[in-house]
């Protein structure tokens, strides 16, 4: 058999993994791979589409967005030194939010490792704390094994990022390629077997509960257990709150959906969590955004924790019964053991609080009658019009929400509607500004049949504004909604609330985004009046290709309701005055 280079072995190995899209940026140490890649992106050997981003951080976030909406492993290809260190924010983000990506980076030749060679960095050392696995490929004969192992680790169990450090000599030396499949690592148990006694103990608690509540997280999406979740909730009539990353694990209009958990979640959900006698946490990790002051979190409740990762059990909150396993397996097993039930009175008790939130927060935020545009109404209208259009256009699946970070994220998560699974990509645990636009780019490749709506603030957009170049070059049909209030809004809110309104470096002077869009040849419209909003949104969503809709937002508004830092979740404030 003809010998091939390590770089070409990488191409064949990625092809064997079913990779179709690579987000990357070339450089010195990865040039042999880019040389091989050229032939695999065109002509008779064509296997991949490669998207040349404008900053390596965007390549990592694009891989994340791709992975979030498709469930497949996102792939990033970058060079050594500054190239790969630029991706580390995205890698840390993926680790925190359990997103499966593989970052392949060039590295200097093994002979000069440790000599401070040009663009050399200890990637394995840097990446180890923020990856599931980080490995340096020093020989071409290891490529097939390393790639297969990388993908297996990234996608299995609790997903996460893997980094491969590809030395230059390994890219150029020639070997006889032997396809390798890694689907077993003796020290790694990605799908622990659930214990029967734990399932029985959990079922007993649920059967005897008078006020049960489910806390639904991204684990349900990662486990593809959306139908199993519905069956479980419906059998025992259990009301549910979703984390931000679990928002589309249960459709917004499901009768048992009570709203979003956490700091800026739903009022009734947060208050009722402090009344429930049994909490069933499914694929969520009790993030501090959800628990508020953890010393006062749900002390009255017995907590059942269903999670695939044993290290999450008791990490933040003491569990009564832990069911470790894949929720695709544990949910139906638990459903079989629980009794059919009716909790009408308990569910009804959410309604007065829900009504209070609708009157005092939701209606003013989404249906204002005067004043400047509000973030909530933009998010609400985009979701509504987007869904109607998707139905009319016969699109498979409702619009996907991708967000940046800050007030834009919180408001769009609160007021967007989720109908189908895997409909949200947002940076939860790391809160990475600049995530939105590149993740949205990646999402259009991960779910090409769906409309991708990207909500950003003026701060977050400008962290990655160069990616308008990527969008221009590849005609990526992202619908970008810029919620422009000329502020770093969320930090401004905290400064107003906790730092005596000292707005330290949060007001921002912004450019004419219209001119920037025009320079990139991207369709653009600016709207500031309420009467123009729906038409502008419709035009954006019915247009072909990328579109930037800039909405001029009331500058000094706060996201509400809110659980202030250090407070218990039942101390949630409905209104947050400016």
């Amino acid at each position: 058999m003809e010998k091939i280079t390590g770089a070409e072995a990488l191409m064949l190995s990625l092809k064997a993994q079913g990779v179709k899209t690579i987000f990357g940026y070339p450089g010195g140490a990865i040039m042999p791979t880019y040389d091989a890649l050229f032939d695999y992106t065109r002509g008779e050997k064509k296997a991949f589409e490669h998207i040349l981003v404008r900053h390596e951080q965007a390549a990592a976030h694009a891989a994340e967005g791709y992975a979030r909406v498709s469930g497949k492993v996102g792939v990033t290809l970058v060079t050594s030194g500054p190239g790969v260190t630029n991706t580390l924010t995205g890698v840390a983000d993926a680790m925190m939010d359990s997103t499966p990506i593989v970052v392949i980076a060039g590295q200097v030749a093994t002979g000069v490792l440790g000599s401070d060679a040009f663009q050399e960095v200890d990637l394995v050392g840097l990446a180890q704390p923020i990856t599931k696995w980080a490995y340096q490929i020093r020989s071409a004969k290891d490529v097939a094994w390393a790639v297969s192992r990388a993908f297996y680790i990234a996608r299995s169990g609790r997903p996460g990022p893997v980094v491969l450090d590809f030395t230059k000599n390994a890219q150029t030396e020639k070997i006889t390629y032997e396809p390798t499949k890694v689907d077993f690592i003796r020290s790694y148990v990605p799908y622990p077997e659930p214990k029967q006694e734990k399932l029985k103990a959990a079922a007993e608690l649920i059967n005897n509960a008078k006020k049960p509540m489910a806390l639904v997280g991204q684990g349900v999406e990662l486990g593809n257990a959306q139908e199993e979740l519905k069956a479980f909730l419906e059998k025992a009539d259990i009301p549910a709150g979703r984390t931000m990353l679990g928002l589309s694990a249960l459709p917004s209009n499901h009768k048992l959906n009570m709203g979003m958990l956490g700091m800026h979640g739903s009022y009734s959900v947060n208050l009722k969590e402090q009344e429930a006698d049994v909490l069933i946490a499914i694929g969520m990790r009790f993030s501090d955004r959800v628990t508020g002051d953890v010393s006062r979190y749900a002390k009255q409740a017995k907590i059942i924790h269903l999670d695939i990762d044993p290290s999450e059990i008791d990490k933040c909150v003491k569990t009564t019964v832990a069911v470790v396993g894949d929720c695709k397996v544990t949910l139906p097993a638990l459903t079989a053991l629980i009794n059919k039930n009716d909790h009408s009175e308990w569910k009804e008790s959410f309604q007065p609080l829900r009504k209070k939130e609708i009157e005092n927060v939701i209606t003013p935020a989404t249906k204002p009658t005067s004043g400047p545009l509000l973030m909530g109404e933009v998010a609400h209208d985009v979701a509504k019009i987007g869904y109607e259009l998707a139905e009319n256009q016969g699109k498979i699946g409702s619009p996907i929400l991708v967000t940046d970070v800050g007030q834009n994220q919180l408001m769009s998560c609160r007021y967007f509607k989720f109908h189908d699974k895997r409909s949200i990509a947002t940076s939860g645990g790391m809160g990475t500004m600049g995530y939105g636009l590149p993740a949205a780019m990646g999402a259009t490749y991960g779910a090409p049949e769906r409309t991708v709506c990207c909500f950003m603030g003026d701060g977050g957009l400008q962290m990655v504004i160069q990616e308008l170049g990527t969008i221009m070059e590849y005609d990526i049909p992202v619908k970008m909604i810029l919620l422009n209030n000329n502020y770093l809004g969320n930090v401004r809110q905290w400064q107003d609330m906790f730092f005596h309104k000292k707005q330290s470096f949060t007001p921002m002077t912004n450019p004419d985004f219209g001119q920037i869009a025009a320079a990139y040849g991207i369709q653009y419209h600016r709207v500031s009046k309420r009467e123009d909003l729906k038409e502008a949104i419709t035009e954006m969503l019915t247009s072909k290709g990328a579109y930037l809709l800039e909405t001029i937002i009331k500058p000094d508004m706060n996201v509400e309701p809110m659980i202030a830092p250090g407070k218990a979740i039942n101390e949630m404030q409905l209104n947050v005055e400016c």
């Binding site: 180890q128 690592i185 790694y188 044993p310 290290s311 008791d314 990490k315």
Partner: protein, 182 residues
């Protein structure tokens, strides 16, 4: 930090024998700013498996979280924490002592004999005592010898090595269940 308020735990971590794992394990401690008191690494009785014996002060809840986070690493096979009662523990210490001061202070020799230490090398200037035993024995001897100013020229401890007192060999059992030949 006031160590006497916390318990000294011994962690045993079994891993694949590949480079880079030590860094991954210690980073779990570093992240929580837990100081590692001692660390020993060596091949275990199981082919291809390395054993780490780590001691650190802490409380039970923290140690539970630490071992779970260590065990989460891909190439870590098993991780457990123990208090001293669950383990058969040994440490070795070397004392480089001033020979004149040792000769002029008979209580020093008595302390070394009491701790079952042995003098292995002697010259006019220094002698070397090797002491093998539990941490408490070794530390007691060290404190006693330090009462004589300038007597202890150098002192080093090996760190603990330990085997469990359990009748179950959990790591072998786990690998056997994974279908591996031990």
């Amino acid at each position: 930090m006031e160590q006497t308020e916390k318990t000294l735990y011994t962690l045993q971590v079994y891993t694949e024998n590949i480079a880079g794992i030590l860094n991954q394990i210690t980073s779990v401690f570093t992240r929580r700013q837990i100081n590692i008191e001692s660390l020993n690494v060596s091949p275990s009785s199981i082919k291809g498996i390395h054993k780490y014996t780590i001691t650190a002060y802490g409380d039970e809840e923290t140690m539970k979280k630490v071992v779970r986070q260590i065990e989460r690493k891909i190439d870590v096979v098993k991780a457990h924490f123990y208090t001293s009662e669950d383990l058969f523990l040994v440490e070795v210490a070397l004392f480089k002592l001033s020979t004149p001061l040792l000769l002029s202070h008979p209580e020093a020799s008595k302390a070394i004999r009491h701790a079952r230490g042995r003098i292995t090398e002697v010259n006019e200037t220094f002698c070397i005592a090797v002491c093998e035993g539990t941490t408490d024995y070794i530390l007691a001897l060290f404190h006693e010898l330090r009462q004589i100013p300038d007597c202890v020229l150098q002192f080093t401890r090996s760190g603990r090595i330990a085997v469990t007192r359990s009748c179950q060999e959990e790591v072998s059992k786990f690998l056997h269940e994974r279908g591996e030949e031990i």
